[in-house]
């Protein structure tokens, strides 16, 4: 190992061996430990961040072993008894509450992929067609804003607008139109969640599509125009193909989080509509584990969720490569 490391770094890091260092092999190729000592200050720079990641990110990854244990708080993670796959029983025996959470998660993910995902693409195309840079920037500033509000604020705003004594119902009542029940109505819970997501993040999500649109070569449009393509055909044959890469990339990233749907958003509104409609995998883990004290079982569900998530990202990335797209990791390297 100590042989390969210096070679690896020497290739990209060290200046080419010059005449002055030719005399001593030691000087030209300092060993791993010598380099480490030379850069000890950089090691110190890395340390605080590295420790935080280690303690609060990597160590908890290990903590997932309580999925295979009968976790007792007073005995700790390492002292609790092993129970094999007992905690996974809810998954393989198809516990109704678990299946309900899984179904709700998948339905919401599917709805998001169909209704939420395309929204910023359409908005970006609209923004991109604006002629005045100034107007475009003002609109962008307004539409990006909701992204920076917390879910608590967004949920509160929606309640104030659409709730029983909200702006909409006050207006309807004052015009004798009767009231509509939106907040706390189980029937409308999913549309409500989706419209909140669209309201909060569509504007912000256009950033990446706008950047991709800006990289499309203007000559392509000119060439298309010379060939007699109208605005519509230019969009079909120049704009959309130009967006293909970034759309696939974002779809892959989205796929990786498809078992994660609006945890805070749903948790905040769960009490009003009941678990039947609102329980998703993440709230299931929280409600059963932290609130209910079924630590092992909840961790088991969370663990399966994360593993499936990683598998989805890697699988989708592979798929993108097969289709001849750069995918996530290729982009990271460039």
């Amino acid at each position: 190992m100590s042989v390969t490391v210096p070679q690896d770094t020497a290739r990209e890091a060290e200046p080419p061996p010059s005449a002055e260092g030719a005399g001593s092999a030691e000087r030209r190729r300092p060993g791993f430990w010598q380099k480490l000592w030379r850069d000890r200050l950089l090691v110190l720079f890395v340390l605080p961040g590295f420790l935080v990641l280690l303690v609060y990110h990597y160590y908890p990854l290990l903590g997932n072993i309580i999925a295979f244990k009968d976790y007792r708080p007073y005995r700790g993670v390492w002292g609790s008894d092993w129970v094999g796959l007992e905690n996974f029983e809810v998954i393989y025996t198809g516990d109704p509450a678990f299946l309900n959470a899984l179904t709700n998660t998948l339905i919401l993910t599917a709805l998001q992929a169909v209704l939420v995902f395309p929204a910023p693409i359409i908005l970006a195309l609209l923004l991109n067609s604006l002629l005045s840079e100034k107007i475009k920037r003002v609109i962008q500033s307004i539409l990006y804003l909701p992204h920076f509000l917390s879910w608590v604020v967004v949920v509160a705003l929606f309640q104030q607008l659409l709730g029983g004594s909200g702006l909409l119902n006050t207006f309807l009542r004052s015009h004798d139109l009767g009231a509509v029940s939106i907040i706390g109505n189980g029937e409308l819970f999913r549309p409500l969640l989706l419209s909140q997501v669209i309201w909060k993040d569509t504007g912000w999500a256009t950033i990446i599509f706008l950047a991709a649109l800006a990289t499309i070569n203007a000559e392509l449009y000119e060439a298309a125009a010379v060939d007699g393509a109208g605005r519509w055909r230019q969009m079909l044959h120049v704009t959309l193909p130009g967006l293909k890469g970034v759309v696939i990339l974002l779809f892959i990233l989205q796929l990786g989080t498809s078992l994660t749907v609006g945890f805070e958003q749903i948790l905040l509104q769960q009490a009003a509509v009941g678990l039947d409609r609102s329980e998703v995998l993440d709230t299931f883990v929280y409600n059963r584990g932290v609130i209910g004290g079924h630590w092992g079982m909840a961790t088991a569900v969370g663990l399966v969720k994360s593993v499936v998530g990683v598998a989805l990202v890697l699988g989708a990335n592979k798929l993108a490569h097969l289709f001849g797209e750069a995918g996530v990791y290729a982009t990271k390297e460039s």
């Binding site: 609060y56 993670v77 609209l126 609109i139 920076f148 705003l157 104030q160 950033i207 805070e264």
Partner: protein, 294 residues
């Protein structure tokens, strides 16, 4: 910015009209909620009871609700907590992330690759709610404000953005400093940091917004209501509609619940609304360095 309309036919009049309408509606959909909340928070008592809820245009200005929440009580305390967590958290996050990102941006550093991999792999796997909760408990942070800062101090995404920005700084600058005998700390603090103000502003905003908005970690780790941040107060008194009592505010006179609620909502949005316009122009740059070069 190259304009994208070379060779495209100019839009027709009806098309322009439709676009104007669409964008007006979209902007109103964002702005009206803010307006209504702000208007209700300052509207006089009678108008609110007449309207039976939110108002869009206040008939006068009545700041009793703000007086009530700022003169001691639950909201004043929560505001202090949120400001502490946001200021201290953002400062620490920026410092630690910049140091980390700078070190792994140095190509001669032997640990640059391994540490970069640690950051990237960490981004791929999330440890899950319960294991993190248990570690926070184990490290004695439960019911401490540090639980809202330390576990989320380093964001892999932000480190990657910073690293790629630092890598874009011309090597001649850092190299000539090295030849002049400058230490890594001097290069970092005297050359790299001053050249990175724009990206620091954006990353600082991302961290600050994260701390200010963090709701779930407070719900999970903070039991003591005296240590609640704004987001928990907002959830309790606005989302869950728990009525505020005399003991919760600092005034003898009790303003209407809905003006109190709207004032709380305004206070929890205002810091973001204030910094937003200043940083907004850097967004695209900050986000894209991370996304494209990361």
């Amino acid at each position: 910015m190259p304009t994208l309309l070379h060779g495209q036919a100019p839009p027709s009049a009806p098309e322009r009209l439709i676009k104007a309408v669409v964008f007006t509606v979209l902007c109103l959909a964002v702005l009206v909620p803010f307006l209504a909340v702000f208007a209700t928070s300052v509207a006089p008592r009678e108008q609110i009871s007449d309207a039976g809820g939110l108002v869009l245009l206040p008939r006068g200005i009545d700041l009793t609700a703000y007086e009530a929440i700022f003169s001691g009580g639950v909201v004043t305390r929560a505001l202090g907590v949120s400001i502490f967590v946001t200021v201290v958290g953002t400062g620490l996050s920026l410092l630690v992330s910049c140091l980390l990102a700078y070190a792994i941006s140095r190509s001669h550093f032997v640990l640059a690759r391994p540490v970069l991999l640690v950051v990237l792999i960490g981004m791929l796997f999330s440890p899950g709610i319960i294991p993190v909760y248990l570690v926070v408990k184990q490290t004695g942070l439960l019911d401490s404000l540090w639980a809202l800062i330390i576990p989320t101090m380093v964001s892999g995404f932000n480190v990657i953005v910073l690293r790629s920005f630092f890598q874009g700084i011309p090597e001649e600058l850092t190299e000539s400093a090295t030849i002049d005998g400058a230490s890594e700390w001097t290069i970092f603090s005297r050359i790299v940091m001053p050249l990175s103000k724009a990206v620091l502003a954006v990353i600082g905003l991302f961290y600050a917004v994260g701390y200010w908005n963090s709701f779930f970690s407070a719900l999970l780790y903070i039991d003591d209501a005296a240590k609640w941040p704004m987001q928990l107060v907002l959830r309790t008194y606005v989302v869950n509609d728990t009525a505020m009592g005399q003991a919760d505010i600092g005034l003898e006179q009790m303003p209407p619940q809905s003006s109190l609620q709207m004032a709380i909502l305004v206070v929890s949005m205002v810091p973001i609304l204030i910094v937003y316009p200043f940083l907004q122009r850097h967004f695209a740059k900050g986000v894209l360095t991370g996304a494209v070069k990361g």
